[in-house]
Subunit: 317 residues, 2 copies
C-alpha cells in the first residue's frame, strides 16, 4: 500500500479513486493506508454544503468550484448520494456536472452512496476527505442532502457548513429552526430571483438574531442564483471570512476539531468492537441459532447479548 | 420495574407511555423491563407504513386504525418523526390526528423522534413495538417517512410493509425501483382521485412484474383516497391476505423473523460493546486527550482505536 499512498501524495487521480473505493468498502489495507496518509492531512479547508432536495446545491457547488479553480485553488468534491427509495428525481451520480470539470486536473469529483458502508457513510466520507486532503486538494467540498441523521453527522465534520435554502419555504423555516441553528455557519438563499426571497431572508434573520452561538459568530446570509453564477463570489467571501474567524479563535476551533476527532474515534471504535465480537465472541452459525431462538421467543435478545459480552470478558455486573 | 410490567400487561396507558419513554432514553432499568415483557410479545401483527413526505401516510394510518377499531381490534401506532432540519411542513407530532382517537382506550398513538436515541431509532422503535405488543395491542402500526437508512431499517422489522405512493411521481418510480422492490409487501397509491393514477399504477405493475421475490408473493396495488376513507377496507384486506400468506409459508416467514432477530441482537450488541469499552477501556478524560491529539495530528485515530481495543483484550493481530 505504500506505493499507493505515494501516488496519492503525488495527486494521481486513479490512485485517489482507488483509495476512496477501498475505504468505502472498508477493504483490507484501507486502515493501514489511512494510517500512512494521516500525517499528511489537516491542510485542506473542508466545506460542507447541505440543504433540502431541489435547493440547487449541486449547481452551487459547481459554481463555487469553478470560482476557486479560477484562482488556481485545487478542489475536491464529494457528493453524498442519498440513494433512498423516496428521494425522487435524478440521483446525484447521474446528473450532469459542469462541462470541463471532469478533465481539469485540479478538480476531483466523487459520488458516494449513503448506504451500504460498514461503519456508516459518515466514517467513509471522513476517510475520503482525508485522502483528498493528503492528495493536496486545498478545498474539499462535501455536498449532502440534509434529510437524515447521517447527513447531519457528515456536515458536522466539516470546518465550515453552508446551509442552502430556497425562497418560499415559508413556515418551513420555522419548523426547521432547531436543526438549522446548530449546523449552519453560513446560509445561502439560492434561486434568489424567485418570489418570496425577502420573506425567507427576514424569517432567517429573525431566527439568527435569537440564536446564541457560543463562539460569537453571526452566520451571514448570502443570496445566490447558481444557474446564473450570481452570488458565487459573495459566498466564497463568506467562507473565507469564517475561515479567518476560526483561525483567530483558536480555542473554539480547537474545541470543534477535538469534538470531531472524538466522534471519529468513537465511530471507528464501534466498527472495530463489533468486528472483534463477531470474530472472538460468537460464530456465524451460533449467531444464527441465537437469532432463531429469539425469533421463536425461546430466548430474549438481552440475555443473548449478555452472554456474548460475558464471553468477551466485558461484563461489568 | 415488575409492577410497571404488570401494569403494561394490564394495558395501562400511562405505564405504557412511561415504558416507551424509558426505552427511548435507554434509561437504567429499561433493559430489565424489556427482558420481563419479552415472553409476552410476538402476538401482534406489526405493520410498517412508509412513503415519501406528503403521500398522506398519517391520514391513511388513521383510516386504517379506525377500520380496525370498528372490528374491536386494539391498535397501537408509532409515528416516527424525521425531526430533520429539512423535512419542511408540519412535524408529525404536531399534526391533528383524527378526533376521538386520543380518548379511545383501544388505541395508543405515540410519536418518536428519529434522532437522539442511544443505539438508534430502529432499536428504540423495536422496543416500543414490543411494549405495545405485550400490552395487548393486536395491530401495531409503525409509520415512517422513508427518506433515510434509519427508516428503511425500521420498516424491515415489521411483519408486513405497505409502501405509499402518490400519482404523478412519474419518472421517480423508475428512480426508486431498487429500494422499493425490496421493502414493499403491499403498495398503496394514495390520492388516487388525482390525475396520473393510471400511469403510476402501470409503471408500478411493470416494475413488480420484473421483480422476483424469493417467497413467491406478488405485492398487490391498492388505490386509496385516505381523505375520503376510500380503499381502506381493500388495504386492510391486502394486509390480511399477506398475513395469511406468511402464516402458510412458515419457512420463509421464520427466515424473515430470524433475520430481524439477528439484526436486533447485533444492534443491542453494538450499544453494549461501546458502553463496555467506554467503561473499561478508556476514561472520559483520556478519550478527550486522545481526541485533542488526533485533532492536532499528533496521533492518528486508527492507532488510538488499536490501543483501546488492545486494552480490552480484543486485539486479534
Amino acid at each position: 500500500m505504500s506505493s499507493l499512498s505515494e501516488k496519492i501524495f503525488a495527486g494521481d487521480k486513479r490512485s485517489i479513486g482507488r483509495a476512496i473505493s477501498a475505504v468505502e468498502d472498508a477493504r483490507a489495507g484501507a486502515t493501514e493506508l489511512l494510517r500512512q496518509i494521516f500525517p499528511h492531512t489537516g491542510k485542506a479547508l473542508v466545506i460542507g454544503i447541505t440543504g433540502a432536495p431541489g435547493a440547487g446545491k449541486s449547481t452551487l457547488v459547481d459554481r463555487l468550484a469553478s470560482f476557486y479553480r479560477a484562482g488556481a485553488v485545487r478542489v475536491g468534491i464529494i457528493a453524498v448520494d442519498p440513494s433512498s427509495p423516496f428521494t425522487g428525481g435524478a440521483l446525484l451520480g447521474d446528473r450532469i456536472r459542469m462541462q470541463g470539470m471532469a478533465t481539469d486536473p485540479g478538480i476531483f469529483i466523487r459520488s458516494m452512496a449513503s448506504r451500504g458502508h460498514l461503519g456508516g457513510v459518515a466514517r467513509a466520507t471522513v476517510d475520503a476527505v482525508a485522502i483528498l486532503d493528503a492528495a493536496g486538494y486545498n478545498k474539499v467540498i462535501i455536498e449532502t442532502v440534509g434529510v437524515g441523521q447521517d447527513e447531519v453527522d457528515i456536515v458536522k465534520t466539516a470546518d465550515v457548513t453552508v446551509v442552502v435554502l430556497v425562497p418560499g419555504m415559508g413556515d418551513g423555516v420555522q419548523a426547521m429552526k432547531a436543526g438549522i441553528m446548530e449546523i449552519g455557519d453560513i446560509f445561502a438563499i439560492n434561486k434568489a430571483d424567485r418570489e418570496g426571497v425577502l420573506r425567507t431572508e427576514r424569517e432567517l434573520e429573525m431566527l439568527l438574531s435569537i440564536s446564541d452561538r457560543p463562539d460569537g459568530w453571526t452566520p451571514p446570509i448570502i443570496k445566490t442564483v447558481a444557474t446564473e453564477d450570481s452570488g458565487t463570489e459573495a459566498l466564497a467571501g463568506a467562507i473565507a471570512d469564517y475561515e479567518g474567524f476560526i483561525a483567530s479563535h483558536h480555542q473554539e476551533s480547537d474545541g470543534r476539531r477535538a469534538k470531531v476527532a472524538e466522534h471519529r474515534i468513537i465511530e471507528l471504535l464501534r466498527v472495530r468492537l463489533l468486528e472483534a465480537a463477531l470474530a472472538k465472541g460468537v460464530s456465524k452459525e451460533e449467531l444464527g441459532e441465537m437469532a432463531a431462538a429469539v425469533a421463536d421467543h425461546r430466548r430474549d435478545p438481552y440475555s443473548v447479548v449478555d452472554e456474548i459480552v460475558a464471553r468477551l470478558g466485558l461484563d461489568q455486573r
